[in-house]
């Protein structure tokens, strides 16, 4: 069993990561002067712009998110509870939601130059604040209340608590959330492509896309940008790895679990059935183009969510859990480009998109599932086996009731993330294969805002519906 799973996982890792990336890097060997190529002025401009935007957005997000998280943690009012719940859901929303929010706010304040870098920063801050707040809140929730009270009893006021308790206790959680967030900024695609106003104002992720997709293909430039991006992602991931060593590992894992199993809404079945019925009837009323896009997107995401969980479980069986994390070491656009360069258009686009997304989203599954799987109740399983139960059956009786809600919830989240994913799909979108996310993106590029808006609403409804459906009785548990 272990040997078979190891062979399978090695094969998947080779085909999914190693082979495409090697092919991608080896594709063009005509770079005579590598220094001139790697440090080309246009490349350096994109690198500086990406870093600048990332740093500014990160600082602004931190300035808002840290006080907000502390306030939400200390406040027990109904308003604070709703803000918390809203933020818990808000961070899963697809990029298009932020685009529309930014456009609406800027229109409201009659800002002249809407499509600019300022809008990108605004959108990134909007997207970043919920993520950092939710992470910090889970970190805060993890702190021992009695320890906090002990410091208070010594006479500590708010600033003393912040200085001597919250910041030292949370410094690793804060650092890891910033690193995660900077990684998300670095690999952000839709927000930049839609709000920056087009070339040359583009980040690394968008630069790679433009160099391979729009107009003439400049493969050398795309490769240079990709290598820069790989370098940055590498630095961020190494930073995260270092942070996750030792005792903080538990903290980060706990954060992951909290995200997916924390307190949230309980929704009645009736409402969900009603919403489901309404969604089905809306499906028949949709224009054919949008309905096809929805069905394609839902089919792809459904397969991806099953594939991700199966792959993560398979990797767990091998004992080489680092392999499930491998997808987090590379940006979605670079991996798509690598797959494109390795497999071209010889295979079905849905199969290629499925493969890329399984590799890319597997780290989410591993972070949630592995800590849970690690806490397996071996003694109870052995007790059942001692009365004649097969090991698999004893696992199902003991572990599955404990795990199933998290697995379903994870499937819902992966489904939502996959449904909103653009950068791994856009390169392969052709011949009628146009999932909902790409369809919305294309509408936005053509400035058909009405259609894009309805598409976004539909996408939000479907992904939220999926997430809420799978966690409908989470509270009861």
């Amino acid at each position: 069993m272990k040997l078979t799973s190891r062979i399978l996982v090695l094969l998947i890792s080779f085909l999914g990561l190693v082979y495409p990336v090697v092919r991608f890097v080896m594709r063009d060997s005509s770079y005579q002067n590598w220094q001139q190529w790697f440090f080309e002025s246009q490349t350096l401009y994109t690198v500086r712009l990406t870093l600048g935007l990332t740093l500014i957005s990160l600082m602004l997000s931190a300035l808002i998110a840290i006080p907000m998280a502390l306030w939400l943690d200390q406040t027990r009012t109904l308003f604070a509870r709703w803000v918390r719940k809203f933020l818990e859901v808000f961070w899963v929303f697809p990029s298009f939601v932020y685009v529309f929010l930014v456009l609406a706010v800027l229109k409201l304040f009659r800002v002249e130059d809407i499509f600019s870098l300022r809008s990108v920063v605004f959108a990134w801050v909007l997207a970043g604040v919920p993520f950092i707040v939710v992470t910090l809140l889970t970190g805060l929730r993890d702190l021992d209340v009695r320890e906090r009270e002990a410091i208070q009893s010594l006479g500590a006021n708010f600033w003393d608590m912040l200085r001597y308790f919250f910041l030292p206790k949370l410094k690793r959680v804060i650092a890891s959330s910033f690193l995660h967030q900077s990684w998300l900024y670095l690999t952000s695609f839709s927000l930049v492509v839609l709000l920056s106003g087009g070339p040359p104002r583009e980040t690394l992720e968008v630069g790679i896309y433009t160099a391979t997709r729009l107009g003439h293909v400049n493969y050398a430039h795309a490769l240079a940008l990709s290598l820069w991006q790989i370098l940055f992602v590498l630095i961020i991931r190494v930073g995260l790895k270092l942070l996750m060593r030792s005792e903080v590992k538990k903290e980060i894992e706990q954060v992951g679990i909290e995200w997916f199993s924390g307190s949230s809404q309980s929704y009645s079945k009736k409402i969900l059935i009603g919403v489901g019925g309404l969604a089905l009837s809306v499906l028949f009323l949709l224009p054919a183009e949008l309905r096809d896009a929805l069905i394609t997107g839902v089919t792809l995401s459904g397969w991806v969510s099953c594939g991700v969980i199966s792959y993560a479980l398979l990797v767990y069986l091998t004992g080489w859990r680092g392999l499930a994390e491998a997808g987090a070491w590379i940006s979605p656009m670079v991996l798509s480009l690598a797959w494109w360069s390795a497999y071209g258009f010889d295979y079905s686009p849905i199969l290629l998109c499925f493969g890329i997304q399984v590799v890319l989203l597997a780290p989410w599954a591993s972070r949630i599932l592995y800590p849970l799987l690690d806490r397996s109740r071996k003694l109870e399983q052995e007790a059942l086996q001692s009365i004649g139960a097969h090991p698999l059956r004893s696992w199902l009786w003991v572990e599955w009731p404990r795990l199933k809600q998290n697995v379903f919830w994870l499937a819902g989240v992966i489904f939502g993330l996959s449904l909103a994913e653009v950068s791994t799909v856009i390169l392969f979108s052709r011949g009628g294969f146009e999932p909902l996310s790409v369809w919305i993106q294309n509408q936005l590029m053509r400035f058909q805002l009405d259609q894009a808006f309805y598409g976004t609403l539909l996408l939000m409804a479907v992904s939220m519906g999926a997430i809420l459906w799978v966690r409908r009785d989470h509270e009861a548990r």
Partner: protein
């Protein structure tokens, strides 16, 4: 300088499943009140309510020699000037033993050479001089308890509350803590509340008695007078 007395009047904690009440009491500076009751009675809740971490009814505060009272029940926990030794010590795991003690001084704006001297003397008196820079996680249970005791009284609070201070300690640690505590109270006579299952030297006792859903602490003269 003569320290203030501490008093509690009409104390009551109301919860859906039960209520905790207490007789009125006044502990003069240097006096000890021993609180004892069966496990699960609500001793720690009583302590938390007095410390301000749980809501309660009634009045509490300090009374000076002239009889003037300062009520503190409306103050947040950090402004009540209590020193509390919690049952689980609750030391900060990211600091070492000295820093944990020093923290109490920093918070109360006692810094510089005076603070360092006070900490090193206290650590020495408690037999912790070789463990001053040890991370909290590497301290034994008895050592942690002594560090926590030092932290709770080093800033000279106006009331000292000790929750199960000698639980699980070996004879040597018990002796050290006890003699340190006695010496401290001789030098700084402040009112003290001890919550413990063990008989303690005291001037008064609060004994827990259940009457239906009401759990009441009854005040009696101390049976093990100090």
């Amino acid at each position: 300088m003569k320290q203030d007395s501490f008093f509690v009047r009409n104390f009551k904690v109301v919860r859906p499943e039960m209520a905790i009440e207490s007789d009125d009491f006044l502990i003069k500076a240097g006096e000890r009140l021993w609180v004892h009751a069966p496990s699960g009675f609500g001793k720690t809740s009583f302590l938390r309510a007095i410390a301000g971490f749980e809501a309660c009814h009634g009045e509490m505060g300090y009374q000076n020699e002239g009889g003037a009272e300062t009520l503190i029940q409306a103050l947040p926990p950090h402004r009540r000037q209590f020193g509390i030794l919690f049952q689980d010590q609750l030391l900060l795991s990211h600091l070492n033993a000295t820093d944990n003690v020093m923290l109490a001084l920093k918070i109360n704006k006692i810094e510089g050479a005076r603070a360092s001297e006070r900490v090193s003397t206290g650590m020495k008196d408690l037999g912790l001089e070789s463990r001053m820079n040890a991370p909290v996680t590497q301290l034994s249970g008895g050592e942690r308890q002594r560090v926590a005791l030092l932290r709770s009284l080093i800033f000279e609070p106006k009331l000292l509350i000790l929750d199960e201070p000698f639980r699980g300690l070996d004879v040597l640690s018990h002796e050290r803590m006890n003699s340190f505590l006695n010496k401290f109270l001789e030098d700084h006579p402040i009112p003290m509340i001890i919550i413990s299952h063990q008989p303690e030297k005291c001037d008064f006792e609060l004994i827990g008695e259940s009457k239906g859903n009401v759990r009441k602490f009854i005040l009696r003269p101390g049976t093990h007078r100090s």
